[in-house]
């Protein structure tokens, strides 16, 4: 069972109703199979792009699926610089898949933004290109934790950046998220309604809406109720744009979600980490300094002789152990191979793929009738990524 309960909806703006264009906003909300991680992806298709609704739908579906992989990685590895590379490679794949879907090298017709987050038991990450907002907070007493990923507009309020543009990597913002109890993701249209200048929750809207919406126990009914608040003539006066709101709160706080909007808390203007991940490198350095100090303290405390003997013998012991283990592994691998020619077939392991995975692979493996040209910027990004990996490999050697 999921640890989170959510309410989400995308509502068509009146300018699009008038011009008979479809809703160009999309959203996808997922939880990891174990229910621990929440994944939200929201995308706002640009009004000028002819297939923006296809673009935003693709980006939210595809990227949400990719984020599930990040969850799996995060369970095995400690968070670090690799997350930036991982996210970049996932955005690259989303773009490649979109090109395959479009069967074209140019994806300008699919212009859309990317607002995504994944949150686990002790925090997570936000991934953001363009406008739209992510805000969140804690409901535990005295914690005062606040999170904000702001929209990035150009100088003017009616300009922004898209995942489909060549220079997306310059506008990609990956930020660590602290441990949160509630989170709201929205497109700029949703932000016009639910936030004050894209930075603070609009208490007058969120308090009554959250109170009413989260009275419902079924997701469907919550979504429906949220929709009625957005499909309001008054809301159409606030913004002519499509509106998307995703509200999420941890199970244990579902009755107290509205408390978050009872008092005017000031949301700090959280500085964003850019994709070079410099803040992470600093923290790693600090950690290293700390371990050095600890080691030094150990030497001082313990008996020196014993320590030196251990230090001399240690590598030898380790070498021996590695030898034994690798021998055993190699042996057992051969043994399995010899005895069970096809272990999967023999054990009848069901290697079933979910629909989303099948869709994803179809898009990525689709034999292309056209030669694939990455945009020059994408090529640079790819080269940089593989450089990063090379560097790590040489460093490991």
């Amino acid at each position: 069972m999921s640890r989170w309960i959510t309410a989400q909806t995308s509502v068509i703006g009146f300018s699009h109703t008038k011009s008979n264009t479809p809703c160009q906003d999309s959203h996808v909300v997922k939880t990891s199979p174990d229910g621990e991680w929440l994944i939200i992806v929201v995308s706002d298709g640009a009004g000028t792009a002819s297939k923006a609704e296809v673009g935003s739908k693709h980006v939210s579906n595809f990227f949400a699926q990719e984020l599930l992989e990040l969850v799996i990685e995060l369970k095995q590895r400690t968070p670090g610089n690799w997350i930036n590379d991982f996210v970049i490679s996932k955005v690259l794949q989303t773009r490649i898949a979109l090109r395959n879907l479009a069967n074209s090298d140019t994806i300008k017709d699919y212009n859309c933004t990317l607002v995504a987050c994944l949150i686990g038991p002790s925090g997570g990450f936000s991934i953001h290109i363009g406008d739209g907002s992510i805000i969140g907070g804690s409901l535990s007493e005295n914690s005062g934790i606040r999170f904000l990923s702001e929209p990035e507009n150009g100088e003017y309020a009616n300009e922004t950046y898209f995942i489909t543009e060549g220079d997306w990597v310059k506008h990609l913002r990956v930020m660590p998220i602290p441990k949160l109890d509630w989170v709201i993701c929205c497109t700029d249209g949703g932000g016009d309604i639910a936030l004050v200048s894209d930075k603070e929750p609009k208490l007058g809207f969120l308090l009554p809406v959250v109170t009413e919406v989260f009275e419902e126990t079924e997701t469907e009914k919550r979504n429906e109720k949220l929709r009625t608040f957005l499909e309001n003539p008054k809301a159409y006066q606030v913004t002519s744009d499509d509106m998307t709101l995703v509200l999420a709160v941890k199970q244990e706080f579902k009755t107290s979600f509205s408390d978050a909007f009872k008092f005017q808390d000031h949301f700090p203007n959280t500085a964003s980490t850019n994709f070079s991940g410099s803040s992470y490198q600093n923290s790693k350095k600090i950690q290293k300094d700390k371990t050095d100090q600890v080691e030094f303290a150990v030497v001082k405390k313990s008996k020196l002789n014993f320590y030196f003997i251990l230090k001399l013998l240690g590598p030898l012991l380790l070498l021996f152990a590695t030898f034994v283990i690798s021998f055993q592994v190699e042996f057992s691998r051969k043994w399995i191979a010899a005895n069970f020619y096809n272990a999967y077939e023999y054990l009848n392991i069901d290697n079933k793929k979910t629909n989303e995975e099948v869709e994803r692979n179809k898009l990525l493996d689709k034999p292309s009738e056209r030669p694939i040209h990455l945009e020059p910027e994408d090529k640079q990004v790819e080269e940089k990524l593989s450089d990063n990996i090379d560097q790590k490999n040489t460093a490991a050697k």
């Binding site: 300018s15 706002d44 298709g45 640009a46 009004g47 000028t48 792009a49 923006a52 212009n111 363009g130 406008d131 507009n153 100088e155 003017y156 309020a157 009616n158 300009e159 922004t160 898209f162 700029d188 249209g189 932000g191 016009d192 309604i193 936030l195 004050v196 200048s197 894209d198 609009k202 208490l203 007058g204 809207f205 308090l207 009554p208 809406v209 109170t211 009413e212 608040f229 309001n232 008054k234 809301a235 006066q237 606030v238 913004t239 002519s240 744009d241």
Partner: protein, 227 residues
């Protein structure tokens, strides 16, 4: 159901009007009205139609620079004023047309206005500058060229959106130097139609969303199509 707060986000669309109030604006057209009379009525129409549009009323911001007039100089007649506080006032004519100087004042106003909005934490769309004149700029040729070049650069670097309207007698060749968009010729003294168009265009601009193309109303109602 408790009351839900549906209030609009704070945003502005600034527009500076550079209006010719030189002596030549006194001349009387076929309708029996002088150009300046028609222009002043146009400004009143602007106030009226802004008041009829809720979004425009809360978002549009105006400033007015007069060129010529009794002081025979370019002058800031009205500093940045929110549409909701905007009261139309008549301009009086006189003197020559130091349009280049007027343009420079306009550009300065725009930079100042942006700075003020940034300081107040209010977002804004690209400012507009509408130039209306019936004559030839009387600045020194080099001053005019400087001002026109600055305008063009500001336009190309997306600092401002320039609309240039010529009234009968205007030198369109000279006017075409200050914007990459060709100047448009006003049909007679259809200032009223022009300002209704300006109001609804500003409204469209103030409503525009990222990634949208702005749909401006047709200029045919006031434009001299023959030109």
């Amino acid at each position: 159901m408790s009351t839900v707060d549906y209030s609009s986000p704070n945003q502005r669309t600034p527009c500076v009007l550079i209006l010719d109030a030189s002596g030549s604006m006194e001349s009387i057209g076929s309708s029996g009205k002088s150009r300046i009379q028609a222009l002043n009525e146009g400004i009143k129409t602007l106030e009226k139609s802004l008041r009829e549009d809720d979004t425009a009323l809360t978002r549009v911001q105006l400033a007015i620079v007069s060129v010529g007039g009794p002081a025979n100089d370019a002058d800031i007649m009205m500093d940045w004023t929110d549409a909701i506080n905007f009261k139309a006032f008549p301009l009086s004519t006189g003197g020559v047309t130091p349009l280049g100087r007027g343009l420079q004042l306009g550009l300065d106003l725009i930079e100042q206005g942006k700075q003020n909005l940034r300081n107040a934490g209010i977002s804004y769309t690209r400012p507009w500058m509408m130039v209306i004149t019936d004559g030839d700029p009387t600045d020194e040729r080099s001053d005019w060229l400087n001002a026109a070049r600055e305008c063009k650069t500001a336009e190309n670097t997306k600092k401002v959106e320039i609309f240039c309207i010529g009234v009968e007698g205007a030198n369109l060749n000279t006017l075409s130097e200050l914007s990459s968009k060709p100047p448009l010729m006003l049909d007679g003294v259809k200032f009223k139609e022009l300002f209704v168009w300006l109001s609804s265009s500003l409204s469209a601009a103030s409503r525009s969303r990222p990634g949208d193309t702005m749909q401006l109303p047709s200029t045919d109602v006031w434009r001299n199509v023959g030109m």
